[in-house]
Amino acid sequence: MILEAQDLRKRYGAYVALDGVSLAVREGEFVSIIGPNGAGKSTLINLLTGVLPPSEGRVRFKGRDIGGIGPVALARLGMARSFQLVQIFPELTVLETLQAAVVSRLGRGANLFASLRRDRQVQSEALEVARLFGLADRAYSPARALPQGDKKLLDVASAFSLRPEIILLDEPTSGVSTADKHAVMEILVGAARQIGLKAIIQVEHDMDIVFAYSDRIIALHQGKVLADAAPAAIRADARVVDTVIGRRAPC
């Protein structure tokens, strides 16, 4: 069990955003979290990534309580994330963006006088990830000049540069055109295999993507787990189809 949440509750004043959510992610799994707006997905992500502490319950990553530990400590422990709204460094090039992640992973961020350009390890690791994500020929473009799909890939690629054990993707294909969604996912899954990622968790609205890639799907509704099962069982679950997927479920 690499990531485990027990009986998570999160209250904002009187409002209960999460009401007793338990889940577990094992090595080798690709888990999708789905649910309608307001189901508590964003809150759940914030708890799983240690951005917010739970009001009750526990989140354990590799056996360690990570409630509210914050993004920097989380990255050091080996969990990375990407964001729903694409997060890039507009003025930095693709390569610089990836280098920043490598520098941080190697703990060289406080190195004031070393030459970044002469750091072979940082250079080669960053380039390797750029190749893996098909961004090598844009290595020297500033991130702001990339097309939307590549920005999304860069966001994920920089998270991969941390060589995490687990990655949490918040809507990895949002803002990407329907035609490109599968391409983005293929690159992502391929890179995950190359890097030796132990597990992927994604929050996703696009049911095509969810059903095509998940080993397991967790459906949230009104702050509770509605269902937690393999894709086939989820598809057959009338409650999930009604509340989350909608009638026009993919077949």
């Binding site: 990255a75 890039i88 460094f89 610089e96 004031l112 750091d119």
Partner: protein, 319 residues
């Protein structure tokens, strides 16, 4: 790149200037070199980390007063001791002040730095016995390289040994800053400037990096401040006043904060522009206000941005 060529020409021009130019213009170069050091540091905070300090005069003041106190009260006349002492004094003050300020960003950071600057200004003004109040203190002519340069009158000293000493300090400060911005740390600062949320998710410790940048820029300001004092021979509280903080921010904007050498160009342009405008028109601030408005609206990349644009499509826009 034509940068190395341009740089070589500029360095040679600065080296030969005292031999060919009237002394007046040579003495004008002294504040340029002092402000050059200050602005290199300020731009690490501004251009590279994305934090605008409106209280940087605090550290300029600390540097200048360190020199005055050392030469007049403690009998320490060696510039090689004054500069490290100024740097140390600034670091001691910047450590707690910076630790507090870097928790805030944007206007809150600016206002907080402004507040600390004004606290120090008031201290200089009111603690008359220690600081000389509004009259300030004398800064005795410092020894350079162990020598008093006794055979030189004031002007000869300033346009000779002191000129080259200042230039050496500026050159060293530039090389050091060049290394810092090209280091892994420099890259981390740029990620923070562009997107702190994303930087944190990549494991960059944002407050710690900002704090380091703050301290480095404070040390640069103090060293520059200590260089400012000998040409005037006097230090007074206006060095730490908020309009002085505003001036250095203006210089950075004038030269262009998105370029490494922009601030140096800004310092140069400011000093010589101020001199020219003041000699023909008493209300020079009026002209400078108009220039500032023009830069912000039409040339956010500053003078460096204008040159770069003419050479090629280098964008300088930043959100």
């Amino acid at each position: 790149m034509r940068t190395p060529l341009v740089l070589a020409v500029v360095v040679i021009a600065i080296l030969v200037l005292p031999l060919v130019s009237p002394p007046y213009y040579v003495t004008l170069m002294l504040p340029f070199m002092a402000y050059g050091v200050i602005l290199l540091g300020l731009n690490l905070l501004f251009g590279y980390t994305g934090l605008v300090s409106f209280g940087h005069a605090l550290f300029i003041g600390i540097g200048a007063y360190t020199g005055a106190v050392l030469t007049t009260r403690l009998g320490v006349r060696h510039m090689e001791l004054i500069l490290p002492a100024a740097a140390l004094a600034a670091a001691i003050v910047a450590a707690p002040v910076g630790a507090l300020c870097v928790r805030y960003v944007k206007i809150y950071f600016g206002m907080l730095t402004l507040a600390f600057g004004m606290v120090f200004y008031t201290f200089l003004l009111k603690f008359y016995r220690l600081t000389g109040g509004d009259e300030g203190m004398r800064m005795l002519r410092p020894y350079l390289l162990g020598s008093e340069w006794a055979g030189f009158n004031k002007t000869a000293y300033l346009i000779g040994p002191y000129y080259y000493f200042s230039l050496a300090v500026l050159a060293l400060a530039t090389l050091l800053m060049w290394r810092i911005v090209a280091s892994p740390f420099g890259l981390c600062l740029k990620t923070i400037r562009d997107n702190p949320l994303k930087a944190e998710s990549l494991g960059v410790s944002v407050p710690r990096s900002r704090w380091y940048a703050f301290m480095i820029s404070a040390v640069y300001a103090a060293v520059g401040g200590a260089l400012l004092a000998p040409p005037t021979g006097n230090v007074d509280p206006t060095l730490a006043y908020w309009t002085h903080s505003g001036n250095v921010v203006f210089m950075v904007l004038l030269g262009g904060f998105s370029s490494f050498f922009g601030p140096l160009l800004g310092a140069f342009a400011f000093i010589f522009l101020q001199d020219t405008v003041m000699s023909v028109f008493p209300y020079w601030r009026l002209i400078f206000g108009a220039i500032l408005a023009f830069i912000v609206i039409f040339a956010p990349g500053g003078l460096m941005g204008l040159f770069a644009r003419r050479r090629g499509p280098v964008e300088v826009s930043r959100g």
